[in-house]
Symmetry: C2
Subunit: 151 residues, 2 copies
DNA sequence: CCTCACTAGTTGAAGTTTCAAGCGTTGAGG
DNA sequence: CCTCAACGCTTGAAACTTCAACTAGTGAGG
């Protein structure tokens, strides 16, 4: 027997589903319009910029951006084509590919960041109390944990 | 001057971004595996099934599924090809297209629902308190409202 | 009545993501 | 040493989404 969602859960679920569809669309469209970047492109550049030497192995970057290696590989090829990242073989192991953020890529990220952060602030955090932010972190963390615990 | 996110906001934001990427991927993959349906396909069938006469105009369905008309049109063509929905011109206005859920489509939805609900329950609600559910609804509602208020 | 801006929907191409298959590398066990 | 399964990554095709352009119908204002 299926345990259906009760009334409260259903309302919460529909809103969460709305957030997933609309928020990611809104972020994509702002970044696309202002910086010719996908939200996922942005995430890649941002993760690289925050790592030591601004460089990461493909697998590590895939993990940090929650993406499949295949998706990442295609996107990195695109970004590489634009000169924003560069692939270099790892000296450590010949099957590892390292991705570097180039100076160009860094500039693109720096130029895109303010608009993106502004959008996130205005769509998500504006008008949210401290408690709301804490609850958001707690609940979102819970969901991510459950997903990662169920492969 | 950009107002950056503070520490708490940043943590909450990274988790929320994780939810958007991972939860929708998880839902898609469960539905794809078990019922050969996209989460968006499922939403279309579900919205139709809950409406009067199991029929809606394209625009109305687009609004309820948070999709562009173009995206919807392509997907409805696919579902129509499988015999799960049918397009009929509206008697009210010749530019309106109505979409009906067919008997076949209804069966597909009924077959897919338990597994989908089970997945949602297990990834989202299992282990969440009443208060958490309320907070989720409140915060998610807040975000959706802000997006809809900023077109 | 017209006109014209707007609405509803479709379409094809371009861009993105997934899927499945494949290639070379590594390392644990025999 | 070998072997072979697992790892890290890439690739091409298929599936999906977006984008821009387009058809056609509607209705408010003149």
């Amino acid at each position: 027997m299926t345990r259906w969602l009760d009334e409260d859960e259903l309302r919460a679920w529909l809103r969460l589903a709305g957030v997933m569809l609309k928020l990611s669309a809104a972020l994509d469209s702002q970044l696309q319009r202002d910086s010719d970047l996908t939200h996922f492109d942005y995430l890649c550049l941002a993760m690289l910029s925050e790592s030591d030497e601004r460089r990461l192995a493909m697998s590590e970057l895939a993990a940090r951006t929650n993406a499949s290696l295949s998706r990442l590989s295609h996107v990195i090829s695109k970004l590489e084509g634009r000169g924003w990242v560069a692939r270099t073989p790892s000296p450590r192991s010949r099957r590892v590919t390292l991705v570097d953020l180039t100076e160009e890529g860094w500039k693109v990220l720096v130029a895109a960041a303010p608009g993106h952060v502004e959008t996130v602030r205005s769509l998500v955090f504006e008008g949210l109390s401290r408690d709301d932010v804490a609850a958001l972190e707690r609940v979102a963390g819970h969901i991510v944990d459950r997903i990662e615990g169920t492969p």
